[in-house]
Assembly symmetry: C2
Homo-oligomer: 182 residues x 2
């Protein structure tokens, strides 16, 4: 039979309860925690498979995606969004530039800036990957009514940290505030 024991109803995590500042016994959202794990795993898996054919990895996808979606994004913005170091970004960005998926344009106001744009080649890649992911999402939403879809969107938004949002998040959340320095 199953050698998995599911009887974890009343969690036995009383052992070191002293160091447990948050939740009381038993009310963990194991369901959502695990669903998020598997859903995200398969969601990004769609793109991962395709990317192999291009010799790219997830890092390239993330860069391409946001450059395509927010044309003219500055390098600094991209660093905020991806939350990686410029050295890490530099590595993949260089490849995408060299291979003609992205082009840089010098900023008009500030000529130190390198504004990033997807080339047609880059757009095609993003569209292909977004197509796969959209297919999965569309399938998953098929039997869910508009109120349900709204709840899903609301939930995902509420899962995101709102303190110190980057430019892309400001766009997504439509934050008009956030001192427009520059």
């Amino acid at each position: 039979m199953a050698d998995i024991n599911f009887s974890k109803g009343s969690v036995a995590s009383d052992s070191q309860e002293a160091a447990s500042p948050g939740p009381r016994a038993g009310e963990f959202r194991w369901d959502i925690i695990e669903l998020l794990f598997f859903a995200y795993r398969d969601f990004v898996g769609d793109a991962d498979n395709e990317l192999e054919a291009f010799g790219f990895g997830r890092a390239h996808h993330r860069v391409m995606h946001f450059v395509y979606r927010y044309p003219g994004l500055k390098v600094a913005d991209l660093l905020d969004v991806l939350r990686i170091t410029k050295q890490s970004l530099g590595r993949v960005l260089k490849q995408l530039l060299d291979e003609g998926y992205i082009i840089q344009k010098t900023g008009n106001n500030d000529r130190r800036q390198r504004l990033l744009y997807a080339t047609p080649k880059g757009e095609a890649l993003v569209a292909k990957l977004a197509g796969l992911q959209t297919d999965r999402i569309t399938r998953a939403l098929r039997d869910i009514n508009p109120e349900g879809v709204a709840a899903i969107s609301e939930f995902l938004r509420a899962m995101i940290d709102r303190d110190d949002p980057d430019k892309v998040l400001e766009a997504i959340f439509g934050i008009g505030s956030k001192k427009p320095r520059e």
Copy 2:
């Protein structure tokens, strides 16, 4: 001003439309795609911060989580769930065993098997991390009604590949089928 150009309504990805087998112009779920990215980033970020204090990484968390949740999980099951190689698993599993977060018991029926169990120390770690993530989830669900929560759960389930589910997914989806060989 904003140097992000949002005018991506009518996507200009017509360039290499020949190689676009999937979706027609314009109907990508950019909203959900990006919300999933940011939501998951911040969701796992909770755990990542805590893990540093233990000298562990995400890989350790994933192993601990599933071992705790499904006591007596076999190594082979874990490999199915995590979809990594046994060498990768071996590295983190060895540390967790050495440091007393997990113990192994020899299988009763099959003495080749190593059944995995979280020790109290391991349970405490999992509980701490799950507490953080549960807090975030609870916050995000706060203003959503039961129908909405059901839709969210349904959506996440539908995002997961159902072909060839591993033991944990069988548990989650309550699949009674799947020939119980062994």
